[in-house]
């Protein structure tokens, strides 16, 4: 294991985090919020010292960076980033308990949007901004950002691919263009472009600038931290609709946007995952609208709420415009099932990813076919291209890990003695990076009532969900650390 190289990358990450904190610090200075200014300055100094130490260790790193290092770096980087990122909350005593502060920032970076705060509006602007900005950074991935801006070593080394693969969601991650730096830049420019567009649309609708920035960040990263206690419920229908549309847009695989920019429209719209995504959205909205029609005055209002809630769960954002916990059982069940679905691979959304379902179901269909025709050789095809058997095996393994983690953490969280619906939906909502669940963790409630153990478990869940399990899992694997 190339520890020094890992430390070097960690040093870069911490340096980047300090830079990211500057806007929040400026807001605090502007608002004369001395308490928070001091908290940020303290955090930046501590982070700077840590980054300096890491840099000293990693200064003379040798070459050699393989899949193992890529996974471990990604896992460690996210944990380290979260620990330092939560310090402003802790030092300013906005969130007095360390585990709570950690929960909040992990929920931010992993774009979950689960909060332990009962009164969000009491937070100072700078901390609100930092909380929402963590969504934006976490959405596309901080390591991908690093790849875009900093030359980590020789220009022609392929190891950066391991980082892209470990941090980006989806069963088969690849580059868009030969150079990693350019790939990362393209992804970030698309991301920035869409975010700015969202922000402008919100501004036009009359949202105050800071709230618009925070909401745009939350939407872009598919995070879901609101700046109001009732999330987006008190905003105008226009603002809610804008957010609905952008939540759906950020749940789409970003390489689709690249293909569109390359004017290969046919390729983009014939993508199987995109079609499934749009299909599920359409059907779910339709069924839920009809189901909740009696609760609202008029079809359009019902449609707006249905679309927003489907968008928030499907893209794993986690905003809310209404308390869907009060909806009929059918609608709630649909939302619960959608929680497992997740967005498209290569988007900023979390969850299991539709691409994996496509692979699993096509593989299942092949297995059924093969049991009827044992000698026939068949390939699983996605977008007319035969899928490598290795990807199918990995996807199967991923499903097992996914289910096992849900069961294990469900069991641990049950110790707290809440209802099964609360516990299960809390685990599912954190693991899939959605945010709100049902019952006691519904849209109007929060996660503060859980015990420290449960919160730690859910922190692990959020990280594992965002990084797609393996980067976190390898940190706990003996084979990673033991020298053979």
């Amino acid at each position: 294991m190339n520890y020094r190289m890992i430390m070097r990358i960690i040093a870069h990450i911490l340096g980047l985090e300090i830079l990211f904190m500057i806007p929040a610090l400026l807001i605090a200075i502007f608002n004369h919020n001395n308490n928070v200014v001091i908290a940020f300055v303290q955090t930046m100094i501590i982070t700077g010292v840590a980054a300096g130490c890491a840099w000293l260790i990693g200064r003379s790193a040798r070459k050699g960076f393989y899949a193992r290092e890529g996974l471990v770096t990604t896992g460690i980087a996210w944990i380290v980033m979260s620990i330092f990122g939560c310090l402003p909350f802790y030092f300013s005593e906005a969130i007095p308990h360390f585990v709570d502060a950690l929960f909040e920032i992990v929920s931010g970076f992993t774009t979950t949007g689960s909060s332990i705060l009962s009164d969000v509006e009491a937070l100072p602007d700078s901390l609100l901004y930092w909380r929402s900005f963590s969504h934006w950074v976490g959405g596309m991935g901080v390591l991908v950002f690093l790849l875009a801006v900093i030359p980590l070593s020789g220009k022609n080394e392929g190891y950066t691919l391991h980082i892209l693969r470990a941090e980006s969601p989806g069963p088969s991650v690849g580059k868009l263009v030969p150079r990693m730096k350019k790939t990362a830049l393209i992804l970030y420019w698309i991301y920035i472009g869409l975010t700015v567009l969202d922000f402008l649309f919100l501004l036009v609708g009359g949202m105050p600038p800071l709230e618009a920035i925070c909401t745009a960040f939350g939407t872009a990263g598919t995070g879901g931290f609101g700046v109001k206690n009732d999330s987006l419920a008190s905003y105008s229908p226009y603002l809610q609709n804008v957010t609905t549309v952008f939540m759906f847009l950020f749940g789409v695989n970003f390489s689709i946007y690249y293909i569109l920019l390359m004017r290969r429209f046919k390729d983009a719209f014939s993508d199987e995952e995109l079609r499934l995504y749009l299909g599920i959205i359409f059907v779910s909205i339709l069924v839920i609208t009809l189901n909740i029609l009696p609760l609202y005055d008029g079809f359009l209002t019902a449609l707006r709420h249905a679309a927003f809630q489907v968008g928030t769960v499907m893209s794993t954002t986690g905003f809310a415009t209404t308390d869907f916990d009060l909806w009929p059982s059918l609608s709630k069940t649909i939302l619960f099932i959608l929680m497992f679905g997740g967005a498209c691979a290569g988007s900023t959304g979390g969850g299991f990813k539709l691409a994996r379902y496509i692979l699993l179901f096509k593989n299942l269909r092949r297995n059924i076919h093969e049991s009827l025709h044992p000698t026939e050789i068949r390939k699983v095809r996605v977008n007319q291209v035969a899928v490598d058997e290795k990807i199918l095996r990995n996807t199967n393994a991923y499903l097992v890990a996914y289910v096992a983690i849900i069961f294990a953490t469900f069991l641990i969280v049950s110790l707290d003695g809440f209802s099964m619906e609360t516990n299960l939906s809390a685990v599912v909502a954190t693991f899939n990076n959605i945010g709100p669940g049902f019952a006691s963790v519904g849209p109007t409630c929060n996660y503060s009532q859980f015990s420290v153990l449960s919160k730690l478990v859910m922190i692990g869940n959020m990280l594992a969900g965002r990084l797609e399990i393996f980067p976190i899992l390898v940190l706990f694997s003996r084979g990673t650390w033991v020298r053979k």
């Binding site: 899949a67 022609n156 392929g158 190891y159 691919l161 690849g174 030969p178 490598d388």
Partner: protein, 453 residues
């Protein structure tokens, strides 16, 4: 530039490495997904899985916006078809095809336009030409030519009884009585760029720059008696042997080839009427003795096995054959062999990589990039040739007033037909060919990269 490389074998991998380091955007095409995976993990490239000669694959790889296709798969036919198809899809594209089969040699040259080939690379033939040059100038381990043949860099191993042992380089001129410059020294496997106080030790491998007409003076004054090579024994009857025999017969040497496969023997006998073809096992000492190995003055080992080539060369050395050339397929940075007396080492794959890289740099030459590059000292060092243009710094200033990086050295300046070995008083003008030697620690793509800024 955007470059497509077809075939991820040894040559493909070296090209991806070198060209990628020079900042080109590379797409690799191969039909084996595991090869692609392996290369993608090591280098910053994108890969396309498929047959490099198929239109779909080429289109997927973005042939319409690429500047160059290098077809280096192991099948000649695929390479030719690939270049043809690429040209059909994008008439602007440059193509380099690796064609190895002697039977295709003629048509690959004559029908270049038809196949859309801008450059034909034949590793075996290039190796044969290189070996031929080495045999022509016996005494040197390696010869690299610059400025259309008017400047050369040769390498010599310092033996125990050499008069250069323990001599500082600034006193070199008085011993060998002609103007040369030692531009690189490999000691214990490490390549250094020496200055005037550097003291030569036994067993050093020195690289000397000299103008072409002074090579024989150099040899004579160093006390190396260069016996002209007349009779060459070649172990192994592969493609290189065939090309080499043609090459050597042209300059009047007599060639004997030992080959164990009877069919191959009769094929060689049919196509090489002037050569002596011997059927037998070149690895057997008895057999070599019975063929009178000591009466040859040149030995070239070209069997398919590197190990065997080394062993035969060692035996030839013991039999005091003055000029030995050993072919190694896996010679990259092989410092283990540095101390073995196996004569000059030739690696066909490395040679073709160098030619391709040279071509790529020439394509870029408008931006002041190097026109030829030779890798020396087992690939640790590079000798690079530039043409000076208006943008280059320090034109007309004496070299002693210019500070260059300590890893780089200007070794020769060619002005018109006159080649001057660089000294403190030399200077270069716009339009001159300048050769720079570096030990590879700094990437030098542009002439101005050699200066301390």
């Amino acid at each position: 530039m955007k470059i497509l490389v077809a075939g991820g074998g040894k040559v493909g991998e070296v090209l991806v490495d070198k060209l990628g380091n020079e900042g080109h955007e590379i797409t690799l095409i191969d039909s084996d997904p595991y090869v692609l995976e392996h290369i993608m993990e090591q280098y910053d490239v994108i890969t396309v899985h498929g047959n490099a000669a198929s239109m779909d694959t080429l289109e997927q790889a973005g042939v319409d916006e690429s500047d160059l296709l290098i077809a280096a798969t192991d099948a000649d036919e695929v390479n030719m078809l690939s270049c043809m198809t690429a040209h059909g899809l994008n008439p602007e594209i440059h193509t380099i095809g690796r064609i190895r089969d002697p039977e295709y040699r003629q048509q690959a040259y004559r029908m270049r336009d038809l196949f859309g080939l801008n450059l034909v690379i034949n590793p075996e033939q290039e190796a044969a030409i290189e070996i031929g040059r080495l045999l022509k100038y016996p005494g040197f381990l390696n010869i690299e030519t610059f400025a259309k043949g008017s400047a050369e860099i040769v390498s010599l191993r310092i033996k125990k009884d050499s008069q250069l042992v323990n001599v500082p380089l600034k006193k070199l001129d008085s011993i060998i009585k002609c103007k040369v410059l030692v531009c690189a020294v490999v000691r214990d496997g490490v390549c250094v760029i020496p200055d005037g106080n550097f003291v030569v030790k036994e067993n050093d491998l020195i690289y000397v720059t000299a103008s072409a007409d002074q090579l024989s003076t150099l040899l004579k004054n160093l006390g190396i008696i260069a016996r002209e090579v007349k009779h060459v024994l070649i172990a192994g009857g592969g493609k290189i042997s065939y090309y080499l025999a043609l090459e050597l017969e042209k300059i009047g040497m007599h060639v004997s080839i030992i080959e164990s496969d009877p069919e191959r023997c009769s094929l060689l006998a049919a196509s090489l009427p002037n050569a002596t073809i011997i059927e037998g096992d070149a690895s057997s000492q008895n057999f070599l003795d019975s063929e009178g190995i000591e009466r040859f003055d040149g030995m070239v080992t070209l069997t398919g096995l590197d190990e065997l080539n080394i062993v035969i060369s060692l035996y030839a050395n013991e039999k005091n054959i003055p000029q030995i050339v050993t072919k190694l397929s896996h010679a990259e940075n092989n410092r283990m062999l540095d101390s073995l007396p196996i004569g000059s080492v030739i690696s066909p794959k490395e040679l073709s990589c160098n030619s391709i890289i040279r071509y790529v740099r020439a394509m870029q030459n408008k931006q002041g990039a190097a026109i030829t590059v030779h890798r020396i000292a087992d690939g640790q060092g590079e000798a690079i040739e530039f043409i000076i243009d208006e943008k280059d710094l320090h034109v007309g200033e004496p070299l002693k007033d210019i500070r260059t990086k300590k890893d780089a050295l200007i070794v020769s300046i060619t002005h018109g037909n006159k080649t001057e070995i660089a000294s403190g008083d030399s200077s270069y003008q716009v339009g001159d060919n300048v050769v720079v030697v570096s030990n590879g620690k700094a990437t030098i793509q542009n002439f101005n990269d050699i200066f301390v800024d």
